[in-house]
C-alpha cells in the first residue's frame, strides 16, 4: 500500500506492506539511527518520536504513521548534540547502539517533565536498555542536561 510519511519534516511517498512495522520502513528509507533490538517491544532501541512522544517503532505499524510527525535522532539537530555532549562528557558512551533512542527519549523527557528528579528520570528512561554501560555514566550526563543536581 502507498503511504505518505512525514519524517523529520520531509514527506516521503513510499510503498509498504500493510502489516509492516515502522522500524523496517525507516531503515529502508535510510534512517539507520533507528536500531533493531529485541523486536518485541522490550528494549527501547527502536524508539522514535511520534508527534513528539517516544514510541517503539518495532510495534508501531507504518500504515498507522501516516498523518503523524515522525522524528528520528537525525531530525533533532543541535538539540541532539547537546544531549550527546552531556553523555559523552561523562565517558558513558560505549558501543553506542542504544545511543540514538536514549537521546530521543531524553529530548522528549526534557519537554515533558516539569520538575525533574533523579527518580523521575530513572522512571522515564526505564524502557531504554543499555547492555554495556551500566547506566551510571549516562545518568550522570542526563542529570546534568536536565538540570538535576
Amino acid at each position: 500500500m502507498k503511504v505518505n510519511l512525514d519524517i523529520n519534516n520531509r514527506i516521503y511517498e513510499t510503498y509498504i506492506d500493510a502489516d509492516e512495522a515502522l522500524l523496517g520502513v525507516l531503515r529502508k528509507l535510510g534512517y539507520k539511527s533507528v536500531k533493531k533490538g529485541c523486536d518485541t517491544g522490550a528494549c527501547g532501541v527502536c524508539s522514535v518520536l511520534i508527534d513528539g512522544k517516544p514510541t517503539l517503532s518495532c510495534q508501531f505499524l507504518a500504515a498507522r504513521a501516516e498523518g503523524h510527525k515522525i522524528t528520528t535522532v537525525e531530525g533533532l539537530g543541535k538539540d541532539a548534540d547537546e544531549i550527546v555532549d552531556a553523555i559523552v562528557s561523562e565517558g558513558a558512551d560505549q558501543c553506542g547502539y542504544c545511543g540514538p533512542s536514549l537521546v530521543l527519549t531524553t529530548y522528549a523527557m526534557k519537554k515533558e517533565l516539569k520538575n525533574p528528579t533523579i527518580e523521575k528520570i530513572k522512571h522515564y528512561l526505564a524502557g531504554n536498555l543499555c547492555r554495556c554501560s551500566g547506566f551510571e555514566g549516562q545518568l550522570r550526563g542526563i542529570k546534568r542536561y536536565m538540570g538535576v543536581k
Binding site: 502489516d19 514510541t55 527519549t105 526505564a126 524502557g127
Partner: protein, 259 residues
C-alpha cells in the same frame, strides 16, 4: 501478527460491519501484544479515526475512550483526582514510556490477558464497558465471559465513588511483568482483586465477605485469599511463592484502605 489489508474506518458502524462480515479480521489496539504472535489475519481494523481517545468527567462518572493510551491514563489529572494512584500505579511499570504511549486501554481490557495489571485495578472500581453491539456490560462480567469476542469496545465508564482505593504488586525488576498484583477499594463496601497469578485477575468473594462483616479481621481475611484463589507457576515465580506473597500484599492493602 500478519495481515493482508489495513483499514481505517471513519464510523464505528463501518468498523463493526467489517469485523462481523469478515471472520478473519481483527481490531487493532496498540498492537503491542498482538504483534508478538505469528497469527495471520485477513484485515486489520484501525480505530484511530473513531475519536475514542479521551478521558472525560461528567457528573457521576469518568469515561475513558477505548483508544486512550496507558501513558495518558498514567498522567491524567482527572484519573488522579478521583482514584488516587490506583490506575497510575497499575500501568507505570509496564515496560517503558515508549511502550505505554502506544498501548491502548481497549486492547489491554478486551484481550483479557493473564498478566494485565490494569484489569486487576479496574475490577475494584464500579466500572462498566460500553460496546457497539452488546451495549453496556459490567466490567467483572465481561472479564469472566469469553463469549463476547466480535464486538468493538467504545469506552470504559467508571463511577465516581467516594473512598479509598489502591494498587500494590510485587515484581523482581522494573519494566517486567509482576509476580503478583493486588487492588483493594473501600467505597460502599470493600473489594479485593488478585491478578497476575499468573492467570487473569479475579475479585475475591470469601475474603471480601469476611472483611466487610468485620473490619478487624484483616489477617484472617488475607489468609483466606490462598484458599480462594489458585496460584500457578511461571518463569517469574512458583505458585507456592505466590501463595506466600498474596496474603502479605492483601493485608497491607487492607490496612491502608481501612486506616
Amino acid at each position: 501478527m500478519r495481515f493482508e489489508k489495513f483499514v481505517k474506518p471513519r464510523k464505528i458502524e463501518t468498523a463493526l460491519k467489517i469485523l462481523k462480515d469478515d471472520p478473519g479480521s481483527v481490531i487493532l489496539g496498540g498492537t503491542t501484544f498482538l504483534r508478538l504472535s505469528d497469527k495471520k489475519y485477513s484485515t486489520a481494523i484501525d480505530l484511530a479515526d473513531l475519536d475514542l481517545d479521551y478521558i472525560i468527567e461528567n457528573e457521576d462518572n469518568i469515561e475513558i475512550g477505548a483508544y486512550t493510551s496507558l501513558r495518558t491514563i498514567e498522567k491524567d489529572p482527572i484519573i488522579n483526582k478521583h482514584f488516587g494512584d490506583l490506575l497510575p500505579k497499575a500501568v507505570e511499570h509496564i515496560i517503558g514510556v515508549q511502550f505505554r504511549n502506544n498501548a491502548k486501554i481497549g486492547g489491554a481490557v478486551f484481550g483479557r490477558l493473564g498478566f494485565s495489571e490494569i484489569i486487576t485495578a479496574l475490577l475494584v472500581l464500579d466500572c462498566k464497558l460500553q460496546f457497539e453491539e452488546n451495549g453496556t456490560i459490567p466490567f467483572a462480567e465481561f472479564i469472566s465471559n469469553w463469549n463476547i469476542k466480535r464486538d468493538i469496545l467504545k469506552k470504559i465508564v467508571i463511577k465516581k465513588n467516594q473512598g479509598k482505593c489502591l494498587y500494590r504488586m510485587l515484581r523482581t525488576s522494573d519494566a517486567d511483568f509482576p509476580i503478583l498484583s493486588v487492588a483493594v477499594s473501600n467505597f460502599d463496601e470493600i473489594k479485593i482483586s488478585v491478578g497476575t497469578r499468573p492467570s487473569i485477575a479475579k475479585l475475591s468473594q470469601e475474603a471480601a465477605r469476611m472483611i466487610n462483616s468485620d473490619n478487624s479481621k484483616i489477617i484472617e481475611a488475607s489468609n483466606l485469599i490462598v484458599k480462594e484463589f489458585t496460584f500457578g507457576d511461571d518463569m517469574r515465580a512458583s505458585g507456592k511463592y505466590r501463595e506466600k506473597i498474596a496474603p502479605v500484599l492483601v493485608s497491607r492493602a487492607l490496612q491502608e484502605v481501612l486506616s
